[in-house]
Symmetry: C2
Subunit: 458 residues, 2 copies
């Protein structure tokens, strides 16, 4: 790596903020996709002006710049495939402002999701995005991938819960987007354009997060169904209620079987699908809301419905869902995990189609996910080291994606494209859209240094 570049980065951020040692650089080259490529340099700025200087240096030297939070992403977006500079946000970890009256927080990108939740909670507020990795993942990563979790069914995704950004484009220009208000129509919506762009348009240095009042009460329900059709019928009925549940998670029969096998859960043996539901709201109307959901979730295929009477029972009901991940990790540690989405009414066709593909390719497929959004995590239990199995798995995956698109779905609900899915993007997006996206990228990043090789098909 060019020593001049190193020295300029050191000038920008201080000597102790630049890592060049190969062994020390290595951990900055992986993420949860299990792809790896070490960067040549790691730089750890503390504030906007330093980021601006770093980008300017990379722009001058035409060196790739990849931003990185905690590497919890599963699509490989944070892996510096072409080497170059990794900008770690680990020192940009300050909550700059907490404004409970206006229900907003201004934070640096390296703050973790959990830190935001903790700070907001002290004022009776929360930030809606709740990815499973919330305890460790950063707000910057949430913004880059438009992250979401179970609560999205009621409260939306990251894109729906950010008011504005401060950022640096690929030529080192500084900008502020958005507003500090819950409404605003001045100019194009650059905020939502940058959110979900996986670090290919700009480096986010500050974000104004929209906070919501914490519900006073929450109630948990678990419904077990004979078959997937009954579960889907229940999902559609629940989603037709005026008050959305705050959680509506789905687990298919194969997943129940696995969880049952690895843990003593006592779930009905005939279970073909299970829903985990939560409602939230005022203390004095929560039981009404729970009753409504209970009624909507009840149909001819219902085998068992339990309503948690207290926190302990809620925890107990969640056990079956929580047992799933360890069980899966045990059986297929390197399984392929996709996160496709279809309109809720097409869930039975999706699940039935996946069952057919499972038989056709002789691959166990386990499905669970955020049913209220039609967002299903499709798990192909394969061993990536088995070349023959992987050939089948790749073909199976292509068929899964084709099925999803045929059902008016989308290839990713929350994991993003990164390098994992970029070759499939052209199946979903038309040529005009792709060409416009490429050209938009060129305006933000004229030298093509921001996270090159990601998001777009070759």
């Amino acid at each position: 790596m060019n020593p001049e570049l190193i020295s300029q980065l050191q000038q920008a951020c201080g000597n102790d903020a630049v890592i060049t040692d190969n062994a020390e650089c290595w951990p900055y080259g992986i993420d949860n996709s299990r792809r790896q490529h070490a960067p040549d340099v790691v730089v750890m700025p503390q504030q906007h002006e330093q980021v601006q200087a770093v980008v300017a240096v990379c722009f001058r030297h035409r060196v790739p710049l990849v931003c990185r939070g905690r590497g919890t992403g599963t699509a490989g977006a944070a892996v510096p495939l072409q080497g170059g500079v990794v900008l770690s946000t680990e020192r940009m970890n300050r909550i700059l402002r907490m404004d409970p009256v206006n229900r907003l927080a201004v934070v640096q990108p390296g703050v973790t999701n959990q830190e935001v939740q903790d700070a907001a909670r002290r004022h009776g507020l929360f930030w809606a995005p709740d990815p499973t990795s919330a305890e460790v993942c950063t707000v910057g990563g949430n913004l880059a991938c438009n992250a979401a979790g179970p609560l999205a069914v009621k409260y939306g995704t990251t894109r729906d819960n950010v008011l504005g950004l401060r950022a640096v484009t690929g030529d080192g220009s500084s900008l502020r987007t958005g507003v500090f208000t819950s409404k605003g129509v001045v100019g194009y919506d650059l905020t939502r354009l940058i959110i979900g762009s996986e670090g290919t348009l700009a480096v986010i240095t500050e974000a104004t997060l929209r906070l919501l009042p914490l519900p006073e009460a929450r109630q948990t329900l678990r419904a077990v169904y004979h078959d997937i059709a009954s579960a889907t019928e229940a999902i559609v009925s629940v989603m037709a209620l005026p008050d959305s549940p705050c959680v509506l998670e789905f687990i298919d029969g194969k997943a129940i079987e696995l969880a049952n096998r690895h843990t003593d859960l006592g779930l009905p043996a005939a279970a073909g699908a299970m829903l985990m539901l939560e409602v939230d709201g005022n203390r004095d109307s929560i039981s009404v809301a729970a009753t409504r959901v209970q009624q909507a979730a009840s149909n001819g295929g219902l085998l068992e419905l339990r309503v948690a009477q207290d926190d302990a029972e809620a925890k107990q009901l969640w056990r079956a869902r929580k047992a799933l991940s360890p069980a899966l990790r045990h059986i297929a540690p390197k399984k392929i995990n996709e996160d496709v989405v279809v309109p809720v009414g097409h869930l039975p066709e999706l699940i039935n189609g996946l069952e057919k593909l499972s038989k056709q390719y002789n691959i166990t497929i386990v499905n669970f996910g955020h049913a209220g959004n039609g967002n299903i995590h499709v798990n192909l239990l394969v061993d990536p080291d088995d070349a023959q199995q992987m050939t089948g798995a790749r073909q199976c995956l292509a068929d899964v994606f084709a099925l999803v698109l045929q059902l008016e779905g989308t290839l990713s609900g929350e994991h993003g494209i990164g390098s994992e899915k970029k070759d499939y993007v052209g199946l979903e997006l038309d040529t005009t859209s792709l060409e416009l996206m490429r050209r938009i990228k060129q305006q933000f990043d004229p030298a093509g240094i921001l996270n090159p090789g990601k998001l777009f098909p070759e």
Copy 2:
């Protein structure tokens, strides 16, 4: 106008779909901004392919193309300032699909907001955007301006309630953006980029609208306060409730005085501010919600709080608010109406600042609006034909905008920029953002034919 262009438009859409007669073209050159400029031709396509052909013709001839719904916009976005072709969406008035299970509707842009509501209501659903002009305004106009109304405080604006678009860019290319699902992270968010772009990026030919379940019940409350500070305190308390009210409208003391003077409303004489509140939800918990709001709205400055016991009383409570517009029209038929936004907690500073400006410039200023969003309609009661008064009014307006920006607000919450506010945009947006927006426009509209002269400062 070039006869070849006329004949090509006729070929594209049929002879009866093209208007060239000056007198007939004239009504297509006005909107609610009261600006006027007649187009040279009006074309009325019926479907996507015809729109594509129309844009291609305009692109070849390098002729301005301005899209038009019903002309209810107040910022002049639909006025063809440079003449050319007006594309009226009046024949693109079909609801192409109503999908209650997946809670979406696919509509052409010329469908009115009310037609969508009526069709959705038959399935127990509604579309959240509710501008005052809902009965006549089109979905296309709602999309172009990112329209909103009172319900935005709970359900968001147009941008929050659209899943995807079909559109034609300025060189006649066709694209589909977005998804049919409530989640999706494949590629950049072109849907929200096009929404609110006031016809400067693409012509929208179809929109997939996100529908929501109709609440079963609604309850109306009216609270009158001694002063603006008490009303603001109430707004902040109400917005801190876990369940947002679905309406939270504000009227200032001057507005109450006017409404009182023109109609016998019997409002307390000492009233310094008034809030109209509505809660919605389940039939069996609505009274709990209303009680919560009532408690939150009560403070030392409260003079009177009434809860409607039935529809008739709700209508009666709304009378004071509804009396306001006719009263204002009577006093100042050509008043200047702005729609600025500030964070809710800064409302007292805004209203106090406006009072000072009112005295300084000797101009009556009346304020009301969507308080839950901090979105205030600032009405300067002036006569545009009085040149001297208008000089003061323009200076006053500049001071209003400066005040709003100083309070971390934005210049428009729902009316948009059009030609009315474009000279002020540079006060809010930084040069990098503006430059990026211009360059994004160039990618969508390389010949600059789509609604030229709008949105961007000269």
